[in-house]
Symmetry: C2
Subunit: 333 residues, 2 copies
Amino acid sequence: MIETPYLLFLGDAPDPLAAKVAQGIRDWRPEFAVGQFRMEGCKADMGLPDMTLEEAKAAGAKTLVVGVANRGGVISPEWKKVLVGALEEGFDLASGLHNLLRDEEDLAAVARATGRTLHDVRVPSVRYPIADGKRRKGKRCLAVGTDCSVGKMYTALAMENVMRERAMKATFRATGQTGILITGEGVPLDAVIADFMAGSIEWLTPDNDPDHWDLIEGQGSLFHVSYSGVTMALIHGGQPDALILCHEPTREHMRGLPDYSLPSLETLRDLALQVAHVANPDCKVVGVSVNTAAMDDAAADAYLREIEGRLGLPAVDPFRHGAGPLVDALETV
Amino acid sequence: MIETPYLLFLGDAPDPLAAKVAQGIRDWRPEFAVGQFRMEGCKADMGLPDMTLEEAKAAGAKTLVVGVANRGGVISPEWKKVLVGALEEGFDLASGLHNLLRDEEDLAAVARATGRTLHDVRVPSVRYPIADGKRRKGKRCLAVGTDCSVGKMYTALAMENVMRERAMKATFRATGQTGILITGEGVPLDAVIADFMAGSIEWLTPDNDPDHWDLIEGQGSLFHVSYSGVTMALIHGGQPDALILCHEPTREHMRGLPDYSLPSLETLRDLALQVAHVANPDCKVVGVSVNTAAMDDAAADAYLREIEGRLGLPAVDPFRHGAGPLVDALETV
């Protein structure tokens, strides 16, 4: 568990997209973000107060979060200066970079000397159990996609927001690096050892109040041959009561796999439901979340109405229209 | 890759079952087994010549394989004496124990000093790629089960045997510890990091001659919630042309999961085929392998005839009847 609140390190981000981790924290956990630290040439801006390390410390920040992707996969000397300074100032560091903080000798040494913690959220820090498949109390919702990167995390976070506004009991459960940095905890599922994948998700979504919903962050796709095993473990470990289908209608092939076409929403619905029923025979598909970013308003509306007609399920783009209708559907489960 | 041939270490096996790794090598790669090393009180016997380390060395053995499960998960001082002696004598060591050889300081030190290799086959030694889903040349057969431990490895090894007798090009591809020790190479799939599971199977079953068959060792089951993700990755990484369904008809619930019943062979067939078609639209289910160990001859025969009638596929117990009919079916693919 990463200590909050955060100072968001934007480094020398070459463009706003490079800072998508920081943007995620800013969007979904603004209460965790007391300020931002930008280096010379930084092209990203979260609209937060720019702070020195000392100012952030005084404002109560506990952890400096690397909210930016590094260039070339290497932590540069310029970054190092700030990261070492942050440790000396009393911050923990948290990062989802491939280049692990702990593998940098200087950072590791200063962290030891100052008693601070380096959180490399790409690497599991827990010994997960093997899944036992026992039914757990409370309810769970999982977003499954026709492909990778179609908006599953966004959908779950948007639903959690609406549910909190409605005073429903809801917890977003992060299963990826960005989600873990946003919420401060979770399971880096793609880095878990095969035998413990499903068990890690059981661990992440334990018994809870009967009216509590875990909103589990989806990963991969049952139809993406590179990562389908991860998705399978997520469905069987999560034993969801409700599934949301996620889709991006303009994509021409599976992400990174030019020879593979996307399944239809109906095909996804049927396979995901069959697989989910193994662990939870009561599981239902309750709605469709469509990423319509590439469509104009009229096209998006027409597409969503068509999906609603075809599948008999509420279909929305949570970014454009909010996740209200998906939460309405959850309330009927 | 583990150097062959082997001296099989049976230690102080409390019963023959404890030596199932040695038995597997003896059954499937007898040419790898020059002799056995038994300690006082050993209750297992492979029917091989009992040899001292010096005798085995003189007979050409290159690696001492720990062919027995250790008691209590700890490598005992009595074992140590033999293992250290084997390193000093010039043997490599290979083991599938949870208690890794490399984690024993004395073994690690002696291996370094003598220049020998410690093969802990539970731990991947290769940096596997992420799967790219590209179609590969050659053919692949995968055994999928209604449950774990229903005879998938045995089925693949028995088929390989028949195929070699028929001068067909065939290679058993190990994906578990026992299989790796039997053949000297493979992927310990249950220990691979989630993101690289499917890629490890692509790596294991590369381009080959058009008439060559990889017989891929199955793992887990699509219907076993603890390990289904592993099975999924195996199907998508292996992109099989042929599937063999494996079943144990007297099992009352999924292994280790008292609340989960086994799927029917028809349910397994339909789900496995749908999943396999994502990576290989030409994949076919070609036969059924049934573990009838718990049935008498008449009951086994009646059951197999019933399955053949129901599924329209050859159904055999390869242990009882040989794998010939399954290989006949492969030849039609």
